[in-house]
Amino acid sequence: MAVDSKTVQKVALLAKLKVDDDKVEATKDEFNKILKWIEQLDEVETQGVEPLVSVNEEHLVCREDKVTDGNIKDEILANAPESEFGYFAVPKVVE
């Protein structure tokens, strides 16, 4: 599998990363190198093998339903570039 420049631009858009037009070719080549390296895995026979979702053999550990966190509004808002009336203030995102 090889990617083209269009795919590079799409991935950049989805990742919210800016890739300058003159870097697209080079990025495409890098993508393809990585993909090629990973394609070695194709040699492994995976017919009938369920996808592995975690290498962690442990099962999920759950918590009890208790309120143990929160009430730290000032700390939550501390890193906000802008906040007003206790809200995060962000550029208008109305649809």
């Binding site: 009890e64 966190d69 206790g86």
Partner: protein, 485 residues
């Protein structure tokens, strides 16, 4: 099936619709953090660093959310998957500080199920459930405080959600409405979601397409997002279906798109096309291993399941002799069903049902009171019915007693005693009144004997009037018929 066919001079069209319903899980704390789920608190108070998407914070699953999901799955008559997996759904938006939502994708916790809905023409229909998975809710954005900014409140961010996806089984807006009501009733019975659509704890997205009647094709669809009442969902489906028919008949095509419903106009409004905005790049959540449930956990929930509306309705019909319609009205919410059962205990259930669905509901409506604030308790209403059954008062007097109970919450027996409304069942006392009425109206007696049978009602009225409404009407009727021959 209740027919809904869009007919134009050019042809007949059929609706094909499926729903996705998000139900907020009832739990004290959020699905992956220990912050409170309380609704209506000050902005950003119920937020932990996990909810705020701070680097390095790890989610820990709330066991209660899993229990609630399993309970709901059982209520949907669905398969419970003992193995399920959390996934990341990646998207960039101000309401999601992580840049992704933790949800379930290929392996949801609940598989296929079904809900039976009752329709107005007396038929019922099974709506198939495709799946149900659990995930985290997003933050709430407020757009109307500042003209240049959106304000974001993360209190809702991380509250547990159950997303229920149906198969495209809906063929009419009525079915959509009946399904939403039924689903709401089920989750409320189970106590897994409060079902308040206007507060956003239950939200509905509808995927709508149309096709020529008789064809089996599936055409492009429009998704109407976040409709917040049963009525609006029905309106949105109807409007959007008709809009699409118009489009096709004008020779245009529909491109898969997302719309919003405007309750003020009853119309759907185009928002955006579905292109790569929906490229969510799902992958298994690395911070959470797969969720594995054991049989004991599921069985414990199954064994403690409350009686659901369908089962309750069937029991009311079979054991208490109610009509299916009456039973379904009384079973729509658990509180009403419980009230009825308490009032009907050891009594004529049909009579009690008639009182509840008639005078009692009318009284609550007129006073704008919820059931739990009723001035008349189930037990007192039951005793009022007893007074009628034991011939202490007649049905007409009972209505007057009821009216006083609604104002004063008094015991029905005390009202009857105080007002001297106790019915006269002593035949000789009634006979004396009957004789008096007959003697003072010889003309009418003659007319009745001459064939004017409908005068019987007039005589009954006279006797009732003389007795100030306390004479037992059955005895009055019987005596009059005897004496008039």
């Amino acid at each position: 099936m209740a027919d809904f066919i869009i007919e134009t001079p050019k042809g007949k069209w059929e609706l094909v619709c499926g729903l996705e319903i998000h139900c907020q899980i009832v739990s004290k704390s959020k699905i992956f953090s220990g912050a409170s789920t309380e609704f209506g608190d000050d902005a950003n108070v119920n937020v932990s660093f996990i909810d705020a998407g701070m680097p390095g914070m790890l989610p820990v699953l709330n066991k209660e959310c899993v229990r609630q999901a399993v309970k709901t799955g059982l209520g949907l008559n669905a398969v419970i998957n003992k193995y399920s997996v959390f996934s990341r759904k990646n998207y960039f938006y101000a309401d999601s500080p992580q840049g992704y939502q933790i949800t379930q994708f290929e392996y949801p916790i609940v598989g296929e199920g079904k809900i039976t809905v009752d329709l107005s023409d007396g038929t019922s229909k099974d709506i198939r459930i495709e799946r149900m998975h659990i995930e985290q809710d997003a933050a709430k954005s407020i757009h109307d405080i500042n003209p240049k900014k959106s304000y974001v409140d993360f209190n809702r961010c991380g509250v547990g959600l159950m997303e229920i996806v149906t198969k495209p089984d809906f063929r009419s807006p009525e079915e959509v409405g009946a399904f939403l009501k039924k689903l709401r009733s089920i989750v409320r019975y189970l106590g897994t979601c409060d079902g308040n659509m206007d507060e956003g704890s239950m939200r509905c997205d509808a995927s709508i397409s149309v096709r020529p009647l008789g064809s089996n094709e599936l055409r492009e669809r429009a998704e109407v997002k976040n409709v917040n009442s049963v009525k609006f969902a029905m309106q949105a489906v109807e409007y959007e279906a008709k809009r699409q028919v118009e489009l096709y008949e004008n020779g245009e095509t529909l491109k898969q798109q997302t719309c919003r419903f405007n309750p003020a106009t009853g119309e759907t409004k185009f928002l955006r096309f579905k292109e790569f905005s929906d490229d969510y790049r799902y992958f298994p959540e690395p911070d959470l291993p797969p969720l594995v449930l054991d049989d004991a956990f599921i069985e414990e929930i199954r064994n403690n399941l409350v009686e659901l509306p369908d089962a309750k309705k069937a029991r009311f019909v079979k054991e208490l002799g109610l009509t299916p319609y009456d039973a379904s009205v009384l079973c729509e919410n658990k509180e009403t069903a419980d009230f009825f059962e308490e009032a009907a205990k050891g009594r004529d259930a049909k009579k009690v049902a008639n009182w509840i669905m008639g005078d009692f509901f009318a009284m609550l409506n007129a006073k704008k009171l919820p059931l739990e604030k009723s001035p008349i308790s189930a037990e007192k209403l039951g005793r009022l019915v007893d007074l009628i059954s034991k011939n202490v008062i007649n049905g007409k007097t009972a209505k007057d007693v009821f009216a006083i109970m609604a104002e004063t919450s008094q015991e029905p027996e005390a009202i009857v005693e105080e007002k001297g409304w106790k019915q006269v069942t002593d035949t000789s006392a009634i006979e004396a009144i009957v004789d008096e009425v007959l003697q003072s109206n010889p003309d009418n007696v003659a007319a009745y004997k001459g064939g004017k049978n409908n005068l019987l009602g007039w005589f009954v009225g006279q006797v009732m009037k003389q007795s100030k409404g306390t004479a037992n009407p059955a005895i009055v009727n019987q005596l009059l018929k005897q004496k008039l021959g």
